[in-house]
Symmetry: C2
């Protein structure tokens, strides 16, 4: 059982930031990553649709024999986590709870801002998780729908990103936040712009590292840690791999190769295309 891989899924490439941290922290573990690129994004879609897609994605990873499931997508974590935990007989880790706990720990005055997709912000999942950890915290949130396309366009450092961030964060700045949760796995790419805008006194919290720690702790607790493996990751996507490889390398911080196309319940293609199936050793991608 301990030799089994860890499953990670996201609507597309954003979850690679979580994978990167998990591989760094757990170099002996093997990972299976799934990006639902044929249906990306999840952030603008309804909870019912996101729950359905998340169930199919999780089902795929479970069929690959994973020992633990990481929902590396904020929108899916926000709306689908209880459903997935009820559907599948394995430990499930989302990105919201670890990010919320880290924000509470980092916050000096309990004034916490949250930015995310429409779906994540509407769900109030961060607000609830933060208030569970600190009932006295004051949480303000803002949906930032243009951040994902800006990051995917490679414009995270562009002046358009700066102006957009100014406008989205204006209500949060007015509230005097001391901590900002980057509630979407794409947003870490905008850190330089956000830091410049908010100043050094505001702490930026990115769930990726906190989620990796939560995965490690849960594996230890359940005696599921692999201590002698060579690591590695196998990538899957639901659309052709080209764009995932091209755009995703900035998220993983390494080249993406050996990506296999697969069909989920809703797929319209039956053939796996792209590069040959390939197990990338950890050393090869991080």
């Amino acid at each position: 059982m301990v030799q089994r891989p860890i499953g990670i899924f996201d609507s597309g490439i954003g979850g690679l930031t979580v994978l990167k941290e998990a591989m760094r922290l757990l170099p002996e573990e093997r990972f299976v990553y799934l990006g639902d690129t044929a249906r990306v994004p999840y952030g603008t879609k309804s909870p019912a649709t996101v729950i359905g897609y998340a169930e199919q994605a999780a089902g795929f990873l479970v069929s690959r024999g994973v020992k633990l499931l990481v929902v590396a997508c904020n929108t899916a974590s926000a709306v689908a986590l209880p459903h997935l935990a009820a559907c599948f007989q394995l430990p499930v880790v989302g990105v919201i709870e670890p990010g919320a706990r880290q924000a509470v720990k980092a916050s000096s005055r309990g004034r916490i801002g949250v930015v995310g997709t429409e779906g994540t912000v509407r769900s109030m999942a961060y607000n609830k998780a933060i208030l569970r950890a600190n009932p006295l915290a004051r949480v303000v949130s803002a949906a930032c729908p243009l951040f994902v396309p800006l990051a995917e366009e490679g414009w995270a450092g562009h002046r358009v990103a700066r102006i957009t961030a100014e406008e989205y964060l204006e209500p949060l700045c007015r509230e005097g936040i001391d901590t900002l949760v980057l509630g979407c796995t794409h947003y870490p790419l905008l850190k330089p712009v956000l830091s410049e805008l908010l100043g050094t006194e505001t702490v930026l919290v990115d769930s990726a590292a906190a989620t990796a720690v939560a995965v490690r702790d849960l594996l230890r607790e359940r005696n599921l840690s692999c201590r002698s493996g060579r690591g590695g990751v196998h990538f899957h996507v639901t659309d052709l791999p080209d764009r995932f490889c091209r755009v995703g390398s900035a998220f993983l911080g390494a080249e993406l190769t050996g990506v296999e196309q697969v069909e989920l319940g809703g797929g319209v293609q039956s053939s796996a295309v792209g590069d040959e199936r390939l197990m990338v050793e950890a050393g090869g991608v991080v």
Copy 2:
């Protein structure tokens, strides 16, 4: 047969600009509109995936007994039109050919720019259609991935849209274009910004009106025109109708009500939700 409705589909709300023009030109006709909002956008996805989605969307409309199919999505028109024409036994109209012909007619010096999604621009469909109509034309194109999220965010007139347009259009302006094809159904919302940037000498061509004329001509040619109907439209979407209704009204230029949720091949939900099934009379929405 003439009493049957006209089917129109798009990846989401953009095709409402085509529907609006078609309803204006053909007030006696009934329309069935389908927006594949559970899988939007198509513009960043591979041709194979878009072809599969388009086939499912067209299949749904054919099952509703439509007499003619309008592919009101530039990306799907660019990559899936021959496939759809081969699959289904009914006349199929896309937005590329009418837009390209109109651009050639409008262009004074044959220097034509095309803007669209990644998928449309990569397909070179406009370039080929324009060169078929005028082999001496000079065509330059640019993908503008941020225009769709800007239009959907309601930021089409924002200074961020102006700066983004300046950057995307810079290579086209350098080529001295006299005509610009808006090769995506979202882009007409950016007309004011684009006009200001390009000046009054550059003609902006939007396929919606040209496509409506092509539909009228084809109906006449095949003796399929309805001359005595009361008109009307029935809307369908693949995700919950809320966002479609909220964002789409700016595209249709009227309130959107009576939208039914349906499941295509890849759907994950089985129940139709939202407002009651409702046939909106033409007078009610235009």
